[in-house]
Symmetry: C2
Subunit: 666 residues, 2 copies
Amino acid sequence: MSRAIRCVTQSSCQCACKPAQVHSLVIVVVVAVVVIVVVIVVVVVDASIPSGVAPCSEALAHSAQVLAAGSGIPEIKCYLNGVKLPKVVGFRTWIAKAVGIVFSVAAGLPCGKEGPMIHSGAIVGAMVSHLNLQKRLRALCVEVEMRDFVAAGACAGVSAAFGAPIGAVLFAVEEGASHMNPKVLTQLFVASATATFCSRLVLGPLFGGIQFGELGTLVPVSFGRYDEIVFRLREMLIFMLMGVCGGLLGALFNEMNRRLCLWRSRHIGPRGWRRFLEALGVTFVIASCRFLVPIFWRAAAGHHLQATRIDELGPMEKLWWEMGQPAIKQLFHAEVEPEHVLSHHELLLLLLYAIANYVFSCWTYGLGVPSGLFVPSLLTGAAFGRFVGELLAMLFGRGSTAPPGVYALVGAAAMLAGTARITISLAMIVIEATGIGSFGLPIFATVMIAKWTGDYFNRGIYDLHIIELKHVPILGEEPEHDMVRLKVEDVMASSLVVLEAVETVGSILTKLESCSHQGFPVMADYRLLEGTIQRGIVHLILLRGAKYHVFQPATGLLSSPPPIIPYEAMAWRRINKFPDIKDVQRSLTREDYGLRIDLRPYVNRNGYTVRPDASMASCYSLFRHLGLRHLPVVRQDGTVCGIITRKDLILSGGLPGFPAISDSGR
Amino acid sequence: MSRAIRCVTQSSCQCACKPAQVHSLVIVVVVAVVVIVVVIVVVVVDASIPSGVAPCSEALAHSAQVLAAGSGIPEIKCYLNGVKLPKVVGFRTWIAKAVGIVFSVAAGLPCGKEGPMIHSGAIVGAMVSHLNLQKRLRALCVEVEMRDFVAAGACAGVSAAFGAPIGAVLFAVEEGASHMNPKVLTQLFVASATATFCSRLVLGPLFGGIQFGELGTLVPVSFGRYDEIVFRLREMLIFMLMGVCGGLLGALFNEMNRRLCLWRSRHIGPRGWRRFLEALGVTFVIASCRFLVPIFWRAAAGHHLQATRIDELGPMEKLWWEMGQPAIKQLFHAEVEPEHVLSHHELLLLLLYAIANYVFSCWTYGLGVPSGLFVPSLLTGAAFGRFVGELLAMLFGRGSTAPPGVYALVGAAAMLAGTARITISLAMIVIEATGIGSFGLPIFATVMIAKWTGDYFNRGIYDLHIIELKHVPILGEEPEHDMVRLKVEDVMASSLVVLEAVETVGSILTKLESCSHQGFPVMADYRLLEGTIQRGIVHLILLRGAKYHVFQPATGLLSSPPPIIPYEAMAWRRINKFPDIKDVQRSLTREDYGLRIDLRPYVNRNGYTVRPDASMASCYSLFRHLGLRHLPVVRQDGTVCGIITRKDLILSGGLPGFPAISDSGR
């Protein structure tokens, strides 16, 4: 086998490349360190800008990149599932996101910085895999490796955001990696452990009051540390009931947000002055509400309307003036005196706070600003949970139930699980971010129940944005139920664009121009499948072919072995930087059009195929487990009769509200 | 499509079955509850039998089932990887294991009860899936579902053994489940959470001194709770160095154990009086050593040789008389007075203890008794770690380093990781079993380094027993490096036993008798692949065929549609309880032999195929990711030219010391 062939087949066979493990890990560590620097900048800036001073500048940041809006988790989820949205992992997106999130958090919007941090981490991961290092580490060029880097980056982002290394890995597994294996798992762990290490090293001395270089369990955890939690068996039932409520509230949240986003896409559009004004308006309303409610509340309670400092406010009033993480910390940990029970008045304000947060965060998500959903959901849930806890304390007396802070914790987990339908990783993140290892059981039970309840009504918020609003073909864990009865031939596209193993330059070029497919079946004798070839490689062959005498005369015997482009010229420097079709057209002369090319040395013969009478369910497994993008359909006798793409898998599942998809996506 | 066809195709297509989620979960909970009852029995019995009184009865227990010997984790690993060893999940194995482990722990052997508990859990899981419940829950009959049950059971076992629900899930993912998806992950979590819940509920009041019904973080954790751990940056380096040492010691352990096991298999054999005597002898030597060392040590130090109670012994002497978990607890938590530094004498005894444990546990593993490796390895590592910690305290003074108990913890993790090469789940189990959420980073770093160091020299102890001692074809995470260059045709078996779509009963029977293959390609027109069929289904067709008039005359046109066996008769009650070939032979008359059967309604057409010129690496991915057992090799023109089985994948990897495998395994 010639070197050129090996180059092509190796690079296109995902599993064939075993890169130097050590190299990957070095890079992963680099990713993590870079991520953490970003994160620390964000944390520090975020902590030092007083709330309310920058109520409109977030809109400036977003105008740079549309993709910088939102939390970024749906986009990363698509990317890891194998669907590339343009510019998701671009440099400009990163800058827009990192700068934008500082403003949108500082503006007092109910946004978390965690989602954007995860997106930033993923982008850094992608950028590292683009670096020139890869001259030496060629294995990193392969797309599947790049995907692992993005996953590792996202994982480092979660880890740094919450200081939760294990939760971060589980998050990447649960939300992202559809092609998980222990090697990737190890990379994820290394990335997240490094990120946590760096953030602990810096944040401990900054906020925890310990010496630099000292590590250990004294380091502050994100949501404050619980010491000892005692609860009774009967309280497990209440926790589970809270899970049901969380699921219901989450489903309602998602449905409201879906309608809001549909309304937005019809009346506001993805960019322009309307979107800018909307962001401005929403910020104004929310910031005003949060500022004014405690003042009017005090006025209604008989206090004089006068200048008030934050420490003069009662604990429930103070919440309105606080931001995400500190507010959560207060809901979790502020213990009222043992004999004191909240007044009806205070309890009502707490409920109002929970509802206001619920509405505000639903309104904000999908706005044209970078905004995470993690912290707002946790905060809303914590408020609801604390309300339940205080109510129980009022009814049965303090001491006969677990402290209300514990209910706040359970409520926070239930709410986020109900909205985002994250389960295992969420439980783990909450456990790590509060420093309790043994309270996992109620958290986990609540979270699972919330997810199941929510799933009964609709999709999770991320999947909703991906599938129902953006119509991206991501594949779920399992095939839709109907797929068992569907056959591949019911779904496949039978109008194929195929290349012949030996074809003229002109004819190849016409076919390339006629469609935007990214891969082509290559045929032998117009009938049998020789293999598949990527569009980029065909472009490259056409561009370099004249130089290396790959073009052969239009008639007569073909040379054997065929002339090939040497390995060095095929090795592209940057992934996906294949030559453009325009460059190819320009480079070809009129005479070249009649010459023939023998594509066989470049064909990937390792590809998988499927039969037209196979069930769609088994076809789905192939796509899902092997991360495929297209799959030729081959009859029993070896003739090609169609092709299945990712989008076919989703269409055949019969999703509600899914529009017809044009052929161009194939 | 007729009902019979659908029955067959559905049951043989792994991904096609979406069972009622709720049903599975109910069953999983049942598994967990049953497991926990077993576990509690073991714990209670284990705690109440004084060490040393039953030095020989473990050998009685083992004689019931050979498979009951050892830890059981390698066998479960094989099972989950898709290779069934006979009786691994049988009822008798369970009884032998559960009874045997009580004796072998009570006999004072360095065995952990954790491995056998995991095995017991897996067996309970398998048994639940065999129960008559499945008349209603038919989806559970499918083999892949059964595998999930076994994984859930094993997971519940880990969870109950260590009270570590999250670590248990990660363990199942890391060691077991090669076909992981979020649905399985959820099942695992439900099983492990239930197991932990039950064990907490019962063990808390029993040993933790809290009221029944109270849960929470006050519940005792397996290895005692650490409060606050402070360590310095420079100590991270020491921890990592300990990781290297753990890896080296682990690799040495594995190599010694491998040689010992080879010697055993040559000179002692799997059962019989020699094996019995060996167990007796080893127990005698180890129990005597452990009993006598502190006594002689005291004598050498000048004490009089007289009756000594355990509380008169010094902390280092007392260790010798204690069993696994309490000894670990002491090494982790027994803090000597701040100003006191261990004497050279005591330090030496500690080192001796570590070495003795190391040798004893290597000697015991592979003996004919049920014996886990978890706790002995942790204990050995803890002793080495404590030694390092005390040494540092002696050199630099107490207070300038982390407490020696922390070093013991790190050492324990390093040793186990070096031996068993478990990483992420081990880190998590240690974290949960000591109640520290924020010490994960050093644990994780140490564990990874220990694994990498060990991997440089040889395989982990479980893989070693599976692959090098038992020669079981399990598939690793990734194809061997050489596979990129190998092609399927280099490896495949081309002497095939194939069935024709329409064939006479006699000819089918001859083919079935001629080999022991479990699946057959079915051909159309002697050339093209129609699909595949399982041996069991062919047996069933032959057995029931006469009754349902499926046999057609030897000549003439075939009926169309072909006569089929109705769905009810095809639905088998118990998985893998297909009729035996002998029953089939007996049921057939001489006249039947000439009649024809049309197999087409029963053929599974969803199967995957591979081309002879595809690389072995991509073939490997198919096996690994889709959990296949055999794969027909089909030429470009649709003709069948061979078959690839699991064993071919291992052979082609060129493992050292792998014997020629007979064709019977196909």
